[in-house]
């Protein structure tokens, strides 16, 4: 009798922990929704007037280097670089770092842009894989292009090399296969320059899904819903994450991650903080942690800006295996970064960063998938033992499910309000995918996260993996 009661109590307590966890999550998401709404409205009103293009040739406009690491990108490199060279800005440099590609990435660039090897002094103390050559174009039309050929050292190493060799005040670290809209740099400069009391150390922005979109001559011709089912789920996830999540964190200056596909940094601070960490696969998150800590520990006023405009478009994986590898890497990167900066956990010295952002990342970005996974195992176990309370299980599942669908619908609403880029039919399809997501896509994400943590925990060697790009659709 006692044993039975005691077991019930334990189960009740487990229930309450999970419920509390869920309530905090729901409340957190609701607050996020509110902050994102407020910030989006403010941003739209504030930016409804003014013409950015007029200032692009200003003598006060800063110089920017866009660093694009390339590894085995021979298929699309020429097109991608051409797109980067056609941005609406005067004083910028495109620095492609060929990270020891095994294919013909470098040869294609040399041929297409008429490159020649130049001499440039390099800091002998700089720690990175050896540089084999620095190339510039003989043609004036491509004077903005610099190609660095180096031995393979990974994305972080390539970005660090670019950062070191750049002479400009700001550096942009992007994926070479990303499509930047022509006005992207103008928005970035505005974000760096608009603050007067704080130093803007980094600027991040929305990443949009470009699968199935029509792109011609490096410009986005038509926005289309991805045809592939996995890409559709990712589009929904990106919408939720960038339009609500990051917008909200950005509004309270607690953004802890800037996407590797589109991140701009104050070069001086980035180098002073040590540049990208080459020992993690979550380098985009880690560098923001480090730069923030650098400023915080010196008590310097700073901020990290977030641009809600859709300026960067990228291709997401369409194959399950590649997708799982990518998410596996993300979760390992997450764990590595959180472990490296564990002293920030609930540390009031770091203000909101230590008391809010870090715990959120710990509980809801790292721990949540693991809890979900073990919760799922528990349900199977309880069912097998015949102690599963079906009524309770179905009720709580329904509550969580309807909340997640509601939140996704809210994100879709803001997608329509802010961008209105998809057709009515596409919006309906997205809503359908929001209903299916908890049963199809979410288990995949959870599985990838568990696999990543497992690998990290048991030190199973795993690097970046490879992502095969299909290339953007061309306008016909």
């Amino acid at each position: 009798m006692f044993q039975s009661d005691f077991f019930t109590i334990i189960v009740d307590y487990i229930n309450i922990i999970f419920l509390m966890f869920t309530i905090v999550l729901f409340s957190g998401y609701t607050v996020m929704g509110y902050l994102a709404t407020k910030h989006t409205l403010h941003y739209r009103r504030k930016n409804s007037f003014g013409d950015l293009s007029k200032v692009m040739a200003s003598p006060l406009a800063p110089s920017i280097t866009i660093i694009a690491p390339a590894y085995n990108e021979g298929m699309n490199i020429v097109e991608n670089v051409r797109s980067l060279l056609s941005l609406n800005y005067v004083d910028y440099e495109v620095m492609v770092v060929n990270d020891g590609s095994k294919d013909d990435t470098l040869e294609k660039m040399i041929a297409a842009y008429d490159l020649v090897k130049i001499e440039q002094k390099i800091d002998p103390n700089w720690q990175s894989k050896p540089i084999r050559g620095i190339y510039k174009s003989k043609q004036k039309a491509f004077h903005k292009l610099t190609v660095i050929d180096k031995e393979n050292g990974g994305k972080s190493d390539a970005l660090n090399t670019g950062m070191q060799l750049s002479n400009n005040r700001y550096v942009g670290c992007i994926d070479v296969d990303c499509l930047l809209l022509p006005d992207a740099l103008l928005h970035v400069v505005k974000s760096f320059f608009q603050r007067s009391g704080k130093r803007v150390i980094a600027v991040g922005g929305v990443i949009r899904v470009a699968n199935s979109c029509i792109i011609d001559g490096g410009e986005l011709e038509e926005v289309r819903l991805p045809k592939n089912w996995l890409a559709k789920f990712q589009l929904l996830e990106y919408t939720r994450s960038f339009i609500l999540g990051r917008m909200a964190w950005g509004s309270i200056d607690s953004l802890l991650i800037i996407s590797g596909a589109f991140g701009f940094f104050d070069r001086e601070i980035a180098l002073a903080a040590g540049g990208y960490d080459t020992n993690t696969v979550g380098e985009d998150m880690e560098i923001v942690f480090r730069m923030r800590r650098y400023m915080h520990e010196r008590d310097l006023p700073y901020t990290v800006e977030y641009i809600p405009d859709p300026l960067c478009w990228t291709e997401v994986p369409e194959e399950v295996k590649i997708f799982i590898n990518q998410r596996d890497r993300w979760s390992r990167g997450n764990l590595e970064t959180l472990t490296k900066h564990k002293d920030m956990f609930f540390n009031p010295k770091y203000g909101r960063l230590g008391m809010l952002s870090y715990p959120y990342w710990f509980f809801y970005e790292w721990l949540a998938p693991l809890l979900e996974f073990f919760g799922f195992l528990s349900i199977i176990l309880f069912y097998y033992l015949g102690i599963l309370n079906f009524q309770f299980f179905i009720a709580i599942t329904a509550a969580v499910f309807s909340f997640s669908v509601m939140f996704s619908f809210f994100a879709i609403f803001w997608e329509v309000y802010a961008y209105n880029q998809y057709k009515t039919k596409d919006i309906l399809v997205l809503m359908l995918f929001a209903i299916l997501e908890p049963f199809v896509f979410h288990p995949l994400v959870t599985f990838s996260a568990v696999r990543g943590n497992y690998k990290k925990l048991f030190k199973i060697k795993s690097g970046w993996g490879t992502i095969t790009r299909k290339g953007f659709s061309k306008a016909t």
Partner: protein, 632 residues
């Protein structure tokens, strides 16, 4: 046990299943609501855009009619139509939405129009009373409505609203404040003065950028003397004023700028350093050196850059200390580049740079040199030196004819400028007797005491400098270059003539013109600055070709000089020093063509090159064999 069981049971929380179902239903209802809101918003946005498009299409032709109606030339029928249109538009404007759309149409149009048509548009906007709507917006409690009103009034140049808008310049809402500043600067020329005088808030870099853009686009704008704000209490005002001083080349603020080099704010320091470099404020060098140690790396780089353009041989010692200190690579490297630039004769010996410059500094007179003073050998001394040097040469070599040639030369007629040209012209000669003379001049270059003077006798050094990018080459020499002959012509021209003149500069210009063209890149007239940018590229392309040719020639010449190494010692230290104040000229100049002014002067005086240079007539072309023999 029972008690324990009871305690656990009583405190263990229970979650009601019904509560969970209620939650699920509530979330589901909200989700359904979102579906409705989403599609409502989508159709609203789409319909709104469509309706506005239709309305704008309808209003567009009416506005055009108003804008291009000419009462003098219009027929009676046209006049009737015009009156009907007026009535129609007045009727339409009774509707608030139509007024809003019309205002939008006019504001959009104003961005594409210019000149008289734009003035007509502004007049139409006021005639239709749309400015009253915008002024009404200023009374709103919503920040974005006020901002919209300010933007509209600014775009439509409603100068009457200036006073009303100035009230917002120090307001508490940042967005309104920024818009109002842009408005007052746009509406009236004195707006910038008012802003700099009264602003109490920080001025973001974005705002500075926008304001500069507005000032740049003002026609016939006569900027105030911005040095008046260089000591404002507001640090951002100082920074902005300093940037304006730099942009408008207000070099009368030099003494204030030198003081600002020591400002606590690193940004102000940096802009001040850029200013002294650009305005060629040589007296700022000591201040630059003093702040070096306490500066950030970025500032250090700027300081070295400034010393490179302002400095002299005596500054090499300071640069050497940087090179030898624990500095970051970029700073050390920059110092090295600066040293090479100041002492280009050592350029090819970077490894041994430390030793060479140390020796040079030791040999230098302890008395600090006035940067504007260079040692110049009196002509009689030159004559003596040359004759004796040649006597020596004749003893050692069989080149007798050179003695006669030189002896016959009237060196007394040479001026300093002539000497530069002589050396310039002598450099590519494929003739032993002339090469001996070059060698003699080479020895003078290596005499430390004559460091500033050596620039005139620097022949082989150009092989290093000429390899530089044309832009760098220009930067190094821009302070020393004489004014372009086109400058005075340009100053007296209207815009159209200026554009034609720029075309001419593109066709004929060299580095002097390039420097002049660079100064036009930020010209207030956009067409001028655009044309200047294209002309700059043309000249740079030409210069890079010249630089390559020069490099080839220098390479060949220096190889030949090395065949007679003993000359240097024998002719060393024969100069006696007197001082004369002249503008210092950088080594890179040596290889330049004759200034256009000199050509014109010669033409006026009907002088030929022979008249000027006597036996130094070097009007010839080097053969291909020369290059083959000496370059390989």
């Amino acid at each position: 046990m029972i008690i324990l069981n009871h305690i656990f049971t009583s405190i263990a929380p229970k979650i009601g299943v019904n509560f969970l179902w209620v939650l699920a239903i509530v979330f589901a209802i909200v989700a359904l609501l979102y579906i409705g809101i989403t599609f409502y918003a989508k159709s609203n946005i789409t319909l709104g855009v469509k309706r506005n498009k239709i309305k704008k299409r309808e209003l567009g032709p009416i506005v055009s009619e108003f804008l291009f109606f000419d009462e003098k030339t219009a027929s009676l029928e046209d006049k009737n139509n015009y009156v009907c249109l007026k009535i129609k538009i007045r009727q339409m404007l009774k509707n608030k939405r139509n007024r809003k759309i019309l205002a939008e149409v006019l504001v959009e149009l104003s961005q594409d129009l210019s000149g008289e048509t734009l003035k007509s548009l502004h007049k139409l906007y006021k005639d239709l009373g749309l400015d009253n709507d915008a002024l009404e917006k200023l009374k709103s409690w919503r920040w974005h409505t006020i901002s919209q009103g300010i933007v509209e009034l600014t775009q439509m140049k409603v100068t009457d609203s200036y006073n009303k808008i100035t009230k917002f310049v120090n307001g508490s809402r940042g967005v309104i404040r920024k818009q109002s500043v842009i408005a007052i600067v746009s509406l009236k020329d004195e707006g910038i003065n008012y802003f700099l005088d009264t602003t109490q808030h920080k001025i973001s870099e974005w705002q500075q950028l926008k304001l500069l853009e507005i000032l740049q686009n003002k026609k016939n704008y006569n900027p105030p003397s911005f040095k008046n704000w260089l000591f404002s209490k507001n640090v951002d005002t100082v920074l902005f004023a300093l940037r304006l001083v730099k942009h408008y080349d207000q070099s009368d603020a030099n003494s204030s700028i030198v003081q600002l080099i020591r400002h606590k704010n690193s940004q102000i320091r940096q802009v001040a350093i850029q200013c002294v470099s650009e305005f060629n404020v040589v007296e700022a060098r000591e201040s630059l050196k003093k702040i070096f140690n306490t500066s950030t790396n970025d500032t250090k780089l700027l300081i070295i850059e400034a010393l490179e353009s302002l400095g002299f041989a005596e500054d090499v010692q300071f640069l050497n200390t940087i090179e030898n200190r624990k500095e970051v690579f970029a700073v050390k490297n920059k110092a090295l580049v600066a040293i090479n630039s100041l002492l280009p004769e050592n350029h090819l010996e970077i490894e041994g740079l430390e030793d060479i410059s140390a020796v040079l500094i030791q040999k230098e007179d302890k008395k600090p040199l006035n940067p504007l003073e260079v040692t110049v050998t009196p002509r009689t001394e030159i004559e003596k030196d040359l004759t004796s040097a040649i006597d020596q040469l004749t003893d050692d070599t069989d080149n007798v004819p050179i003695v006669n040639d030189i002896a016959e030369t009237d060196l007394l007629t040479f001026t300093i400028d002539d000497t530069i040209d002589v050396v310039t012209e002598v450099a590519p000669i494929d003739d032993d007797k002339h090469l001996e003379f070059i060698k003699f001049l080479e020895t003078k270059k290596e005499t430390p005491k004559e460091a500033p003077n050596t620039v005139y006798f620097n022949v082989s050094e150009s092989s290093s400098t000429s390899k530089k990018e044309p832009e760098n080459l220009i930067n190094n020499s821009k302070e020393a270059l004489p004014d372009s002959v086109f400058k005075s012509l340009y100053d007296g021209c209207d815009t159209e003539a200026k554009l034609i003149l720029l075309d001419e500069i593109g066709a004929l210009g060299d580095e002097k013109e390039l420097q002049f063209v660079l100064s036009l890149l930020n010209a207030p007239e956009i067409e001028i600055s655009k044309k200047a940018a294209s002309v700059k590229i043309i000249i740079e392309n030409r210069l890079s070709v010249i630089a390559e040719q020069d490099a080839l020639e220098e390479n060949a010449t220096s190889k030949l000089i090395n065949k007679n190494p003993n000359l240097q010692e024998e002719l060393n230290a024969r100069y006696t020093n007197t001082t004369k104040t002249i503008t210092p000229i950088k080594p890179t100049l040596v290889k330049e063509l004759k200034p256009l002014e000199l050509c014109f002067l010669e033409e006026e005086e009907e002088k030929t090159e022979e008249d000027v240079f006597g036996f130094f007539d070097i009007n010839f072309i080097l053969s291909e064999e020369f290059y083959k023999d000496n370059c390989n």
